[in-house]
């Protein structure tokens, strides 16, 4: 297993290098010039040229790429063109809100969706099943931002229970942190929850139709034990896979959620950087995302053995 993990980590480095080259090349081909954005609306072409020269944007592609890789190897992700702050500082400021939002959403969604999916499968064809599936279709159909505005309108404006926007670090207390994340988590997690519930139901139905489940039932095992110990455990691999894929979806979905709820997370940092062509931030964030995705995939793969001892690495 250790060999497998090391091999995967080695592959991760190759993936990251390819991503880095791809991102750097892509930004070169993208229309938009940070110098023009910095210069503002009243700059002349000469002003823009001077700023380009200052920023080193007139250097050939290979020189810029080489310099970037060299700095990267020294742990330097560069400096934001606009704010002059190190990219690591900017990403550091934004990690906690996004991680908080994503983890809370993930935990709540899994805790609700998996049992709901299991119940729906156990009660397949009944009104409970139809109700669950009806809600999941509805949850799939409502865009995140629409749900977000509805939640703000009800819980923040009308009932005044929760704040409209912003983020408070956990260091300021549990309730300030939680109160600012409840609505964004619901908005972000609803689609995700529906997705996991449907997959859980479908997988469970497959498993429940297997011979060994019939045997377990015939042996007179309690229905709950059959469901949890026999069926759910065997349905675990596809569910975990979907949860893993879902984390990637959550991170990308967080962009909309962070914008609507004015949460200063990585998603908003990325969008702002793209709109302003702040290349060092874009490169840094994409590298970070790539690393996170690869790591999640690795953890998901490793977790398969917990559910299926037949899997060997």
């Amino acid at each position: 297993m250790i060999v497998y993990v090391l091999r995967r980590l080695g592959a991760t480095l190759i993936v990251m290098a390819v991503v880095a080259l791809f991102v750097f090349s892509l930004l070169f081909l993208t229309p938009g010039d940070p110098a023009a954005v910095i210069a503002g609306d009243v700059a002349t072409a000469d002003d823009i040229q001077r700023i380009r020269a200052k920023l080193g944007l007139n250097e050939p592609f290979l020189v810029q790429f080489g310099g970037w890789v060299w700095r990267l190897l020294h742990g330097d992700l560069g400096t934001s063109i606009f704010t002059n702050l190190p990219v690591t500082t900017l990403i550091g400021q934004r990690v906690q809100p996004t991680v908080s939002l994503t983890l809370l959403t993930l935990v709540v969604a899994v805790l609700i969706a998996v049992p709901v999916g299991v119940i729906a499968a156990a009660k397949a064809g009944t009104w409970t099943d139809r109700l669950v599936m009806g809600f999941s279709v509805l949850a799939f159909s409502v865009p995140v931002f629409v749900l977000a505005y509805l939640l703000i309108g009800l819980f923040s404006i009308r009932l005044e229970w929760l704040p409209v926007q912003g983020y408070r670090p956990l260091g300021e207390g549990l309730w300030p942190w939680l109160s600012h994340l409840i609505l964004p988590s619901i908005a972000l997690g609803t689609v995700y929850m529906a997705f996991i519930a449907r997959i859980t139901r479908a997988t469970m139905l497959d498993v429940l139709a297997q011979d060994y489940i019939r045997t377990a039932n015939a042996k007179g095992l309690a229905p709950r034990a059959v469901l949890t110990r026999h069926a759910l455990k065997n349905a675990g691999v596809p569910i975990i896979t979907v949860i893993g894929i879902g984390i990637a979806l959550l991170i990308s979905g967080a962009i909309v959620t962070e914008t609507v709820f004015a949460i200063p997370g990585i998603g908003r940092l990325t969008v702002d950087a793209i709109l302003r062509r702040d290349y060092p931030i874009i490169q840094g964030v994409i590298l970070l995302f790539s690393g996170v995705y690869v790591l999640i995939n690795l953890l998901v793969d490793l977790s398969y053995r917990l559910f299926d001892p037949r899997i060997r690495y």
Binding site: I38, D41, V42, V164, A262
Partner: protein, 524 residues
């Protein structure tokens, strides 16, 4: 032992209570700015958000008041020699930078020198200056090669770029490189540790600041800070910003889109007001290097069909928030005039326009209007102009992207087939277009602002305006510039509009001005 422990606990609780009380008593003004503050250097960028940040942190030698008069600000007294070639300035007592250092003549000279390398009016001033000398730490002198009547107006310039005063060591930074240290002598101090770009900017009251005694008037007068702390929270989504104001999470929203005005007016605790007396001005800018708008007759043709009312309604949504303006110089300011404006102001005349198009020799060349969908003011104007040009039978194509793409693409001097452009729209705040000094009016070909018009006659007339010695002569000279401009058409004004502000009714003391100033504001 238990007694000691209990006493310590009680003492700690008392401390916590006192600290809590102090925190509770702190007055925090929660402000939603018009944009995100990205660049901290108000000299390298003309972005209005950075200008507003500049006014929080820095002070100016002179400042413009609500009567368009230039008043001393950091300067205590000044003298102009009889030949108008020597200006001697003496600073007020007690001026101190946020790092505790006194403001010296050398700081002022270095700051003005740096600003003059970036600002169009500053460049004119620099051309006129022979030397700038520090007489002593509080007194400095500008010696001119030739009289420059706008010296004080330049030093008291209201909007971008504003000649803010910084410490000499910072002002020595290359004017094309952003400064990273924010040290001014203004009424607020910037708290860099709490700055989260894209989200939050924090300022605290500068308790060392000594305001002038006069009442505040635009950028002039006493800058008395009546809150302890100001937090700018940038909320990119306007519906969320409205909700935050409704819920009391914000005190003041600097600029709201017209469609949200009715929603906010429903809340009796919120006031929606136009606190900018001049507003902003939309424009159509042509590419003078490429056909077809390198042709004067084609530009003139548009003057006969542009209907400013359409643009007012398109941008502002309501006539209460905008009006027509048939002047190259901001309506409501001393140099505004309708001289030469008949083609733009008169009855809209498509036949006349089509006749001019025929006379121009237009052969159906493709006209590309570049637009930015993430800038509603730009995109609305682009849509209206596209429709207008189509109605004239012109071969027009709207190419929309984002603002970052637009402002890069507009620097292209190539034909439209090679990625160039024919028209783009933008807007300027009123103070930036109040005189022939404005950048859009510079007609020096490729040295001009984007669009690159070349008209030696306008340049001669502008120079004549710079050389005038009194207000009456200045007005006459600016009228002459305008008359020629309506013939040459360097750009077309589309609308003068205001994006209102919204604030909670517990705020008072807002300064009605074209720039948002946060001193004098009281929160109950």
């Amino acid at each position: 032992m238990k007694v000691v422990s209990a006493s310590l606990r009680a003492f700690a609780l008392a401390l916590a209570f006192v600290a809590g009380s102090a925190a509770a008593q702190e007055k925090v003004l929660k402000f939603i700015p018009q944009a995100d503050l990205r660049i901290l250097d108000p000299i390298t960028t003309t972005a209005y958000i950075t200008r507003n940040h500049g006014y929080m942190v820095y002070d100016t030698l002179f400042a413009t008041d609500a009567k368009f008069q230039v008043q001393p600000q950091m300067v205590e007294k000044w003298e102009v020699s009889k030949d108008k070639l020597t200006y001697t300035f003496t600073l007020r007592d007690g001026l101190k930078f946020h790092d505790g250092q006194p403001v010296r003549s050398a700081d002022c000279i270095a700051s003005v020198e740096r600003w003059a390398k970036r600002d169009s009016l500053g460049q004119k001033l620099a051309e006129a200056i022979e030397s700038w000398t520090a007489v002593n730490d509080k007194t400095f002198r500008f010696k001119l090669k030739k009289p420059f009547a706008l010296t004080l107006q330049a030093l008291g310039k209201l909007s971008s770029n504003v000649p803010f005063i910084m410490p000499e060591r910072i002002a020595k930074t290359d004017p094309f490189q952003n400064i990273t240290e924010v040290i001014g002598s203004g009424p607020f101090k910037f708290v860099k540790e709490e700055w989260v770009p894209g989200n939050k900017v924090v300022y605290v009251k500068n308790t060392d600041y000594v305001p002038r005694k006069e009442a505040p008037s635009w950028a002039a007068g006493g800058k008395v800070v009546k809150v302890d702390r100001v937090e700018w929270t940038y909320i990119p989504d306007s519906a969320t910003a409205a909700a935050a104001l409704n819920a009391g999470e914000a005190d003041w929203w600097e600029q709201l889109p017209p469609d949200l005005i009715p929603l906010l007016r429903k809340n009796k605790d919120i006031r929606v007001e136009n606190i900018d007396p001049l507003g902003s001005i939309g424009i159509i800018r042509f590419n003078f290097l490429q056909p077809p708008f390198n042709n004067q007759k084609l530009r003139q043709a548009l003057l006969y069909v542009v209907n400013q009312q359409d643009y007012v309604l398109g941008i502002a949504g309501d006539e209460k928030n905008g009006h027509t303006c048939y002047s190259f110089f901001t309506c409501g300011t001393p140099l505004s005039s309708e001289i030469g404006a008949e083609p733009l102001k008169g009855k809209r005349d498509f036949d006349k326009a089509k006749k001019l198009i025929r006379e121009s020799g237009y052969k159906g060349e493709k006209i590309v209007i570049i637009s930015a969908t993430d800038q509603p003011i730009v995109h609305t104007q682009s849509l209206i102009t596209t429709e207008l040009l189509r109605n004239l039978g012109l071969n027009v194509e709207l190419q929309a992207g984002d603002w970052g793409t637009l402002i890069t693409r507009r620097t292209s001097k190539e034909p439209v087939e090679k990625g160039g452009w024919s028209i783009f729209h933008t807007w300027w705040v009123g103070p930036d277009l109040i005189s022939p000094a404005n950048m859009a009016m510079v007609n020096l070909g490729e040295k001009s602002w984007i669009g690159w018009p070349a008209n030696p006659k306008i340049e001669e007339l502008r120079q004549a305006w710079f050389n005038t010695s009194d207000a009456a002569a200045g007005k006459k000279a600016s009228d002459a510039v305008q008359r020629e401009a309506f013939s040459f058409v360097p750009y077309i004004t589309t609308a003068q509009f205001i994006l209102p502000a919204a604030y909670r009714s517990n705020l008072s003391g807002m300064i009605i001005a074209p720039v948002t100033f946060l001193w004098n504001v009281e929160k109950k």
